[in-house]
Protein backbone atom coordinates (compact mmCIF):
# COMPACT_ATOMS: atom_id res chain seq x y z
CA UNK A 1 0.00 0.00 0.00
CA UNK A 2 1.37 3.40 -0.94
CA UNK A 3 1.39 6.39 1.34
CA UNK A 4 -1.84 7.66 -0.15
CA UNK A 5 -3.52 4.27 0.28
CA UNK A 6 -2.56 4.20 3.96
CA UNK A 7 -3.81 7.74 4.45
CA UNK A 8 -7.17 7.05 2.84
CA UNK A 9 -7.54 3.79 4.77
CA UNK A 10 -7.07 5.60 8.09
CA UNK A 11 -9.41 8.39 7.07
CA UNK A 12 -12.09 5.92 5.95
CA UNK A 13 -11.78 3.94 9.15
CA UNK A 14 -12.05 7.02 11.37
CA UNK A 15 -14.98 8.34 9.40
CA UNK A 16 -16.72 4.99 9.79
CA UNK A 17 -16.10 5.05 13.54
CA UNK A 18 -17.45 8.59 13.69
CA UNK A 19 -20.50 7.55 11.70
CA UNK A 20 -21.25 4.84 14.26
CA UNK A 21 -21.17 7.43 17.03
CA UNK A 22 -23.17 10.18 15.40
CA UNK A 23 -24.09 11.88 18.65
CA UNK A 24 -20.49 12.81 19.38
CA UNK A 25 -20.12 14.47 16.02
CA UNK A 26 -23.35 16.39 16.34
CA UNK A 27 -22.64 17.50 19.88
CA UNK A 28 -19.78 19.81 18.92
CA UNK A 29 -21.76 21.14 15.97
CA UNK A 30 -24.72 21.99 18.20
CA UNK A 31 -22.31 23.47 20.69
CA UNK A 32 -21.09 25.82 17.98
CA UNK A 33 -24.63 26.83 17.07
CA UNK A 34 -25.71 27.33 20.68
CA UNK A 35 -22.68 29.38 21.71
CA UNK A 36 -23.10 31.61 18.66
CA UNK A 37 -26.77 32.07 19.52
CA UNK A 38 -26.05 32.95 23.13
CA UNK A 39 -24.12 36.11 22.38
CA UNK A 40 -27.01 38.20 21.02
CA UNK A 41 -29.01 37.14 24.08
CA UNK A 42 -26.24 38.32 26.37
CA UNK A 43 -25.22 41.44 24.50
CA UNK A 44 -28.43 42.71 22.97
CA UNK A 45 -29.92 42.59 19.52
CA UNK A 46 -28.66 45.84 18.01
CA UNK A 47 -27.73 44.88 14.49
CA UNK A 48 -24.85 47.36 14.26
CA UNK A 49 -23.22 45.87 17.32
CA UNK A 50 -23.87 42.29 16.22
CA UNK A 51 -22.39 42.91 12.80
CA UNK A 52 -19.31 44.27 14.52
CA UNK A 53 -18.76 41.37 16.89
CA UNK A 54 -19.83 38.62 14.48
CA UNK A 55 -16.37 37.64 13.17
CA UNK A 56 -14.89 37.38 16.63
CA UNK A 57 -17.85 35.60 18.18
CA UNK A 58 -18.18 33.06 15.40
CA UNK A 59 -14.48 32.39 15.39
CA UNK A 60 -14.26 31.97 19.16
CA UNK A 61 -17.26 29.66 19.06
CA UNK A 62 -15.61 27.62 16.31
CA UNK A 63 -12.42 27.51 18.35
CA UNK A 64 -14.21 26.16 21.40
CA UNK A 65 -16.25 23.69 19.37
CA UNK A 66 -13.15 22.35 17.66
CA UNK A 67 -11.44 22.01 21.03
CA UNK A 68 -14.39 20.18 22.52
CA UNK A 69 -14.02 17.38 20.02
CA UNK A 70 -10.25 17.04 20.38
CA UNK A 71 -10.56 14.73 23.37
CA UNK A 72 -11.74 11.83 21.31
CA UNK A 73 -9.12 12.25 18.60
CA UNK A 74 -6.86 9.65 20.18
CA UNK A 75 -8.58 8.74 23.46
CA UNK A 76 -10.73 5.85 22.21
CA UNK A 77 -7.95 4.32 20.16
CA UNK A 78 -5.64 4.68 23.12
CA UNK A 79 -8.10 3.01 25.48
CA UNK A 80 -8.75 -0.05 23.31
CA UNK A 81 -5.15 -0.52 22.20
CA UNK A 82 -5.64 0.42 18.55
CA UNK A 83 -3.14 3.21 18.88
CA UNK A 84 -0.49 0.84 20.12
CA UNK A 85 -1.09 -1.44 17.13
CA UNK A 86 -0.74 1.58 14.87
CA UNK A 87 2.58 2.44 16.49
CA UNK A 88 3.77 -1.13 16.02
CA UNK A 89 2.74 -1.35 12.37
CA UNK A 90 5.46 -1.03 9.71
CA UNK A 91 3.76 2.08 8.31
CA UNK A 92 5.23 5.31 9.73
CA UNK A 93 3.12 6.52 12.64
CA UNK A 94 3.31 10.08 11.34
CA UNK A 95 1.34 9.07 8.25
CA UNK A 96 -1.36 7.40 10.33
CA UNK A 97 -1.51 10.43 12.61
CA UNK A 98 -1.93 12.70 9.59
CA UNK A 99 -4.82 10.54 8.44
CA UNK A 100 -6.45 10.71 11.86
CA UNK A 101 -6.11 14.50 11.96
CA UNK A 102 -7.59 14.77 8.49
CA UNK A 103 -10.52 12.59 9.53
CA UNK A 104 -10.98 14.67 12.66
CA UNK A 105 -11.17 17.80 10.56
CA UNK A 106 -13.71 16.23 8.21
CA UNK A 107 -15.86 15.25 11.17
CA UNK A 108 -15.39 18.21 13.52
CA UNK A 109 -14.13 21.07 11.36
CA UNK A 110 -15.90 20.88 8.03
CA UNK A 111 -19.45 20.89 9.48
CA UNK A 112 -18.58 24.11 11.31
CA UNK A 113 -17.47 25.68 8.04
CA UNK A 114 -20.68 24.62 6.35
CA UNK A 115 -23.00 25.89 9.04
CA UNK A 116 -21.11 29.13 9.69
CA UNK A 117 -22.83 31.15 6.91
CA UNK A 118 -26.19 30.39 8.50
CA UNK A 119 -24.99 31.73 11.84
CA UNK A 120 -23.43 34.67 10.03
CA UNK A 121 -26.85 35.56 8.65
CA UNK A 122 -28.16 35.79 12.21
CA UNK A 123 -25.54 38.45 12.73
CA UNK A 124 -26.54 40.26 9.57
CA UNK A 125 -23.26 39.81 7.72
CA UNK A 126 -23.19 40.74 4.07
CA UNK A 127 -22.83 37.94 1.52
CA UNK A 128 -19.28 39.03 0.79
CA UNK A 129 -18.36 38.89 4.47
CA UNK A 130 -20.02 35.48 4.69
CA UNK A 131 -17.85 34.23 1.88
CA UNK A 132 -14.71 35.52 3.59
CA UNK A 133 -15.89 33.90 6.82
CA UNK A 134 -16.25 30.57 5.06
CA UNK A 135 -12.83 30.85 3.43
CA UNK A 136 -11.18 31.87 6.69
CA UNK A 137 -12.80 28.93 8.49
CA UNK A 138 -11.88 26.62 5.64
CA UNK A 139 -8.24 27.57 6.13
CA UNK A 140 -8.48 27.92 9.89
CA UNK A 141 -10.31 24.82 11.09
CA UNK A 142 -7.70 22.38 9.73
CA UNK A 143 -5.15 24.51 11.56
CA UNK A 144 -7.15 24.06 14.75
CA UNK A 145 -7.25 20.28 14.24
CA UNK A 146 -3.51 20.14 13.57
CA UNK A 147 -2.48 22.22 16.58
CA UNK A 148 -5.07 20.57 18.78
CA UNK A 149 -3.74 17.13 17.87
CA UNK A 150 -0.46 17.99 19.61
CA UNK A 151 -2.34 18.90 22.78
CA UNK A 152 -4.55 15.83 22.51
CA UNK A 153 -1.51 13.58 22.19
CA UNK A 154 0.28 15.24 25.10
CA UNK A 155 -2.68 14.88 27.45
CA UNK A 156 -3.45 11.30 26.46
CA UNK A 157 -4.34 9.28 29.53
CA UNK A 158 -3.37 12.14 31.81
CA UNK A 159 -5.30 13.16 34.93
CA UNK A 160 -7.85 15.90 34.17
CA UNK A 161 -6.99 15.62 30.49
CA UNK A 162 -9.93 17.62 29.15
CA UNK A 163 -9.37 20.80 31.09
CA UNK A 164 -5.63 20.51 30.68
CA UNK A 165 -6.08 20.14 26.94
CA UNK A 166 -7.85 23.49 26.76
CA UNK A 167 -5.16 25.13 28.86
CA UNK A 168 -2.48 23.85 26.47
CA UNK A 169 -4.14 24.43 23.13
CA UNK A 170 -6.11 27.65 23.52
CA UNK A 171 -3.02 29.91 23.76
CA UNK A 172 -1.65 28.21 20.64
CA UNK A 173 -4.91 28.91 18.81
CA UNK A 174 -4.53 32.66 19.18
CA UNK A 175 -2.81 33.36 15.82
CA UNK A 176 -5.53 31.41 13.99
CA UNK A 177 -8.17 33.42 15.81
CA UNK A 178 -6.49 36.74 15.08
CA UNK A 179 -6.05 36.16 11.37
CA UNK A 180 -9.32 34.28 10.92
CA UNK A 181 -11.54 36.83 12.61
CA UNK A 182 -9.27 39.59 11.30
CA UNK A 183 -9.91 38.54 7.70
CA UNK A 184 -13.66 38.98 8.09
CA UNK A 185 -13.23 42.24 9.97
CA UNK A 186 -10.82 43.58 7.35
CA UNK A 187 -13.28 42.71 4.63
CA UNK A 188 -16.16 44.43 6.43
CA UNK A 189 -14.11 47.57 6.99
CA UNK A 190 -13.08 47.60 3.34
CA UNK A 191 -9.38 46.84 3.82
CA UNK A 192 -9.52 43.57 1.93
CA UNK A 193 -9.06 40.15 3.47
CA UNK A 194 -6.28 38.90 1.21
CA UNK A 195 -3.45 39.65 3.65
CA UNK A 196 -5.06 37.90 6.58
CA UNK A 197 -6.07 34.92 4.50
CA UNK A 198 -2.55 34.57 3.09
CA UNK A 199 -1.11 34.56 6.59
CA UNK A 200 -3.69 32.01 7.66
CA UNK A 201 -2.72 29.84 4.71
CA UNK A 202 0.95 30.24 5.61
CA UNK A 203 0.24 29.12 9.16
CA UNK A 204 -1.70 26.15 7.83
CA UNK A 205 1.21 25.15 5.60
CA UNK A 206 3.58 25.40 8.53
CA UNK A 207 1.28 23.35 10.72
CA UNK A 208 0.75 20.66 8.08
CA UNK A 209 4.47 20.23 8.04
CA UNK A 210 5.26 20.35 11.76
CA UNK A 211 2.15 19.36 13.71
CA UNK A 212 1.88 15.68 12.67
CA UNK A 213 5.53 15.31 13.51
CA UNK A 214 5.16 16.82 16.99
CA UNK A 215 1.97 14.84 17.54
CA UNK A 216 3.75 11.62 16.64
CA UNK A 217 6.54 12.38 19.08
CA UNK A 218 3.99 13.11 21.81
CA UNK A 219 2.08 9.89 21.07
CA UNK A 220 5.26 7.84 21.29
CA UNK A 221 5.89 9.30 24.73
CA UNK A 222 2.35 8.46 25.81
CA UNK A 223 2.70 4.90 24.54
CA UNK A 224 6.08 4.23 26.13
Amino acid sequence: MGAFGVLSAVVRRDLLVALRRKSEVLTSLFFFVIVASLFPLGIGSEMDLLRKIAPGVLWVAALLAAMLSLNRLFANDYADGTLEQMALSPVPLGLLVTGKILAHWLVAGLPLVLIAPMLGLQYDLSSRALMVLVISLLLGTPLLSLIGAIGAALTLGVRGGGVLLSLLTLPLYIPALIFGAGAVEADISGLGAAGHLSLLAALLTLAVFFAPWATTAALKIALE
Binding site: T155, R159, G160, L164, L167, I174, I178, A214, I221
Partner: protein, 246 residues
Amino acid sequence: MSVITWKYASPQYFYPLAGKMIPWFSLLAVIFGIAGLWLGFFVAPTDAQQGEGYRIIFIHVGASWMSMFLYLVMAFWAGIGLSFNTRVSSMMATAIAPTGAMFAFLSLWTGALWGKPMWGTWWVWDARLTSELILLFLYLGFIALQAAIDEPRRADKAGAILALVGVVNVPIIYFSVKWWNTLHQGASVSLTQAPSMAKTMLLGMLMMALCFWMYSLAVALMRVRAIMLERERHSEWVANLKEVKS
Protein backbone atom coordinates in the same frame (compact mmCIF):
# COMPACT_ATOMS: atom_id res chain seq x y z
CA MET B 1 38.06 18.10 30.64
CA SER B 2 35.13 16.26 29.17
CA VAL B 3 35.12 13.79 32.06
CA ILE B 4 34.91 16.64 34.54
CA THR B 5 32.10 18.51 32.79
CA TRP B 6 29.95 15.54 31.78
CA LYS B 7 30.16 14.33 35.35
CA TYR B 8 27.74 17.11 36.30
CA ALA B 9 25.05 15.64 34.06
CA SER B 10 24.49 13.23 36.91
CA PRO B 11 22.31 14.38 39.80
CA GLN B 12 24.74 12.87 42.26
CA TYR B 13 27.47 15.34 41.23
CA PHE B 14 25.31 18.25 40.24
CA TYR B 15 23.54 18.34 43.59
CA PRO B 16 26.58 19.42 45.66
CA LEU B 17 27.80 21.72 42.86
CA ALA B 18 24.44 23.49 42.80
CA GLY B 19 24.59 23.72 46.57
CA LYS B 20 27.94 25.48 46.36
CA MET B 21 26.76 27.91 43.68
CA ILE B 22 23.52 29.00 45.33
CA PRO B 23 25.04 31.30 48.02
CA TRP B 24 27.15 33.12 45.41
CA PHE B 25 24.26 33.75 43.07
CA SER B 26 22.08 34.82 46.00
CA LEU B 27 24.76 37.23 47.17
CA LEU B 28 25.15 38.68 43.68
CA ALA B 29 21.38 39.04 43.40
CA VAL B 30 21.30 41.03 46.63
CA ILE B 31 24.21 43.26 45.58
CA PHE B 32 22.81 43.97 42.12
CA GLY B 33 19.36 44.42 43.60
CA ILE B 34 20.49 47.01 46.12
CA ALA B 35 22.54 48.82 43.47
CA GLY B 36 19.68 48.75 40.96
CA LEU B 37 17.05 49.92 43.43
CA TRP B 38 19.32 52.64 44.76
CA LEU B 39 20.01 53.91 41.24
CA GLY B 40 16.38 53.58 40.31
CA PHE B 41 14.84 55.29 43.31
CA PHE B 42 17.44 57.79 44.45
CA VAL B 43 19.85 58.58 41.61
CA ALA B 44 17.87 58.41 38.38
CA PRO B 45 16.30 61.79 37.50
CA THR B 46 12.57 62.34 37.56
CA ASP B 47 11.12 61.86 34.11
CA ALA B 48 9.99 65.11 32.50
CA GLN B 49 6.73 63.67 31.17
CA GLN B 50 6.00 60.72 33.39
CA GLY B 51 6.98 62.07 36.81
CA GLU B 52 7.96 59.66 39.58
CA GLY B 53 5.57 56.93 38.50
CA TYR B 54 7.89 55.78 35.76
CA ARG B 55 10.29 54.32 38.34
CA ILE B 56 8.37 51.07 38.27
CA ILE B 57 10.02 50.31 34.94
CA PHE B 58 13.20 49.43 36.81
CA ILE B 59 11.39 46.31 37.93
CA HIS B 60 9.02 46.00 35.00
CA VAL B 61 11.58 45.91 32.19
CA GLY B 62 13.87 43.43 33.91
CA ALA B 63 10.95 41.17 34.75
CA SER B 64 9.71 41.20 31.15
CA TRP B 65 13.15 40.42 29.79
CA MET B 66 13.60 37.62 32.29
CA SER B 67 10.18 36.09 31.60
CA MET B 68 10.93 35.82 27.89
CA PHE B 69 14.52 34.76 28.31
CA LEU B 70 13.65 32.08 30.87
CA TYR B 71 11.14 30.53 28.48
CA LEU B 72 13.94 30.09 25.95
CA VAL B 73 16.27 28.67 28.59
CA MET B 74 13.56 26.34 29.80
CA ALA B 75 12.81 25.14 26.28
CA PHE B 76 16.53 24.72 25.64
CA TRP B 77 17.05 22.46 28.64
CA ALA B 78 13.81 20.60 27.94
CA GLY B 79 14.97 20.03 24.36
CA ILE B 80 18.39 18.82 25.49
CA GLY B 81 16.70 16.52 27.98
CA LEU B 82 14.44 15.15 25.26
CA SER B 83 17.14 14.54 22.68
CA PHE B 84 19.98 13.30 24.89
CA ASN B 85 17.83 11.75 27.59
CA THR B 86 19.75 13.59 30.30
CA ARG B 87 17.83 13.75 33.52
CA VAL B 88 19.41 16.88 34.97
CA SER B 89 18.53 18.95 31.89
CA SER B 90 14.86 18.01 32.17
CA MET B 91 14.90 18.68 35.91
CA MET B 92 16.41 22.08 35.17
CA ALA B 93 13.56 22.89 32.77
CA THR B 94 11.00 21.90 35.40
CA ALA B 95 12.83 24.00 37.97
CA ILE B 96 12.91 27.11 35.77
CA ALA B 97 9.21 27.14 34.82
CA PRO B 98 7.74 28.57 38.07
CA THR B 99 10.32 31.36 38.16
CA GLY B 100 9.54 32.25 34.56
CA ALA B 101 5.82 32.29 35.29
CA MET B 102 6.45 34.47 38.33
CA PHE B 103 8.38 37.00 36.23
CA ALA B 104 5.67 37.00 33.55
CA PHE B 105 3.11 37.72 36.25
CA LEU B 106 5.31 40.37 37.85
CA SER B 107 5.79 42.02 34.47
CA LEU B 108 2.03 42.15 33.88
CA TRP B 109 1.36 43.41 37.38
CA THR B 110 3.95 46.17 37.32
CA GLY B 111 2.83 46.99 33.78
CA ALA B 112 -0.70 47.53 35.07
CA LEU B 113 0.59 49.70 37.91
CA TRP B 114 2.53 51.74 35.38
CA GLY B 115 -0.31 51.90 32.89
CA LYS B 116 -2.85 53.33 35.33
CA PRO B 117 -1.13 56.72 35.85
CA MET B 118 0.36 56.87 32.33
CA TRP B 119 -2.44 55.67 30.11
CA GLY B 120 -5.25 56.09 32.61
CA THR B 121 -6.12 52.43 32.44
CA TRP B 122 -4.93 49.24 34.10
CA TRP B 123 -4.94 47.27 30.93
CA VAL B 124 -4.85 47.89 27.21
CA TRP B 125 -5.08 45.19 24.59
CA ASP B 126 -1.82 46.04 22.99
CA ALA B 127 0.65 43.68 21.37
CA ARG B 128 3.26 43.48 24.07
CA LEU B 129 0.87 43.21 26.99
CA THR B 130 -1.15 40.59 25.21
CA SER B 131 1.84 38.49 24.23
CA GLU B 132 3.17 38.68 27.76
CA LEU B 133 -0.19 37.41 28.98
CA ILE B 134 -0.07 34.58 26.48
CA LEU B 135 3.46 33.79 27.62
CA LEU B 136 2.10 33.44 31.13
CA PHE B 137 -0.52 31.03 29.79
CA LEU B 138 2.19 29.01 28.08
CA TYR B 139 4.12 28.77 31.35
CA LEU B 140 1.00 27.72 33.20
CA GLY B 141 0.26 25.08 30.56
CA PHE B 142 3.76 23.68 30.92
CA ILE B 143 3.52 23.56 34.70
CA ALA B 144 0.03 22.07 34.63
CA LEU B 145 0.97 19.39 32.12
CA GLN B 146 3.97 18.30 34.14
CA ALA B 147 1.96 18.34 37.35
CA ALA B 148 -0.73 16.14 35.80
CA ILE B 149 1.65 13.35 34.83
CA ASP B 150 2.82 11.17 37.70
CA GLU B 151 5.63 9.37 35.93
CA PRO B 152 8.56 11.85 36.00
CA ARG B 153 10.23 10.77 32.77
CA ARG B 154 6.99 11.03 30.81
CA ALA B 155 6.29 14.39 32.41
CA ASP B 156 9.75 15.57 31.32
CA LYS B 157 9.30 14.50 27.73
CA ALA B 158 5.72 15.69 27.34
CA GLY B 159 6.71 19.03 28.87
CA ALA B 160 9.66 19.23 26.49
CA ILE B 161 7.47 18.81 23.43
CA LEU B 162 5.08 21.43 24.72
CA ALA B 163 7.93 23.84 25.45
CA LEU B 164 9.40 23.34 21.98
CA VAL B 165 6.03 23.81 20.31
CA GLY B 166 5.70 26.94 22.42
CA VAL B 167 9.07 28.25 21.25
CA VAL B 168 8.05 27.84 17.62
CA ASN B 169 4.79 29.59 18.43
CA VAL B 170 6.09 32.48 20.50
CA PRO B 171 7.31 34.54 17.51
CA ILE B 172 4.16 33.69 15.55
CA ILE B 173 1.99 34.74 18.46
CA TYR B 174 4.06 37.86 19.00
CA PHE B 175 3.80 39.05 15.42
CA SER B 176 0.16 38.11 15.03
CA VAL B 177 -0.71 40.09 18.13
CA LYS B 178 1.50 42.93 16.98
CA TRP B 179 -0.19 43.24 13.63
CA TRP B 180 -3.51 42.87 15.35
CA ASN B 181 -3.05 46.00 17.40
CA THR B 182 -0.26 48.28 18.41
CA LEU B 183 -0.77 51.04 20.88
CA HIS B 184 2.23 50.52 23.10
CA GLN B 185 5.08 52.95 22.85
CA GLY B 186 8.05 51.74 20.80
CA ALA B 187 10.72 49.62 22.42
CA SER B 188 12.24 51.72 25.19
CA VAL B 189 15.68 50.13 24.99
CA SER B 190 17.17 49.76 21.58
CA LEU B 191 20.56 48.31 20.75
CA THR B 192 20.95 50.02 17.40
CA GLN B 193 20.01 53.58 18.29
CA ALA B 194 21.52 55.68 20.99
CA PRO B 195 19.38 55.23 24.08
CA SER B 196 17.07 58.17 24.59
CA MET B 197 17.01 57.77 28.35
CA ALA B 198 19.50 59.02 30.90
CA LYS B 199 22.59 56.90 31.47
CA THR B 200 21.73 56.33 35.11
CA MET B 201 18.30 55.03 34.18
CA LEU B 202 19.80 52.56 31.76
CA LEU B 203 22.36 51.51 34.33
CA GLY B 204 19.68 51.04 36.94
CA MET B 205 17.68 48.89 34.60
CA LEU B 206 20.70 46.78 33.77
CA MET B 207 21.46 46.33 37.46
CA MET B 208 17.92 45.17 38.11
CA ALA B 209 18.07 42.82 35.12
CA LEU B 210 21.29 41.33 36.48
CA CYS B 211 19.69 41.04 39.91
CA PHE B 212 16.76 39.11 38.41
CA TRP B 213 19.17 36.98 36.45
CA MET B 214 21.13 36.01 39.55
CA TYR B 215 17.92 35.50 41.50
CA SER B 216 16.59 33.17 38.80
CA LEU B 217 19.80 31.16 38.85
CA ALA B 218 19.77 30.84 42.62
CA VAL B 219 16.10 29.92 42.84
CA ALA B 220 16.22 27.50 39.91
CA LEU B 221 19.19 25.75 41.43
CA MET B 222 17.44 25.52 44.79
CA ARG B 223 14.40 24.07 43.13
CA VAL B 224 16.40 21.64 41.03
CA ARG B 225 18.05 20.35 44.21
CA ALA B 226 14.64 19.73 45.72
CA ILE B 227 13.49 17.94 42.57
CA MET B 228 16.63 15.79 42.62
CA LEU B 229 16.07 14.78 46.22
CA GLU B 230 12.45 13.94 45.49
CA ARG B 231 13.11 11.88 42.41
CA GLU B 232 16.25 10.15 43.63
CA ARG B 233 15.08 9.57 47.17
CA HIS B 234 15.60 5.82 46.89
CA SER B 235 19.15 6.06 45.61
CA GLU B 236 22.23 5.52 47.67
CA TRP B 237 23.82 8.92 47.16
CA VAL B 238 20.78 10.67 48.61
CA ALA B 239 20.81 8.35 51.62
CA ASN B 240 24.49 9.18 52.15
CA LEU B 241 23.98 12.96 52.08
CA LYS B 242 24.97 14.74 55.24
CA GLU B 243 21.70 16.65 55.47
CA VAL B 244 19.65 13.48 54.91
CA LYS B 245 21.53 11.41 57.48
CA SER B 246 21.21 13.87 60.30
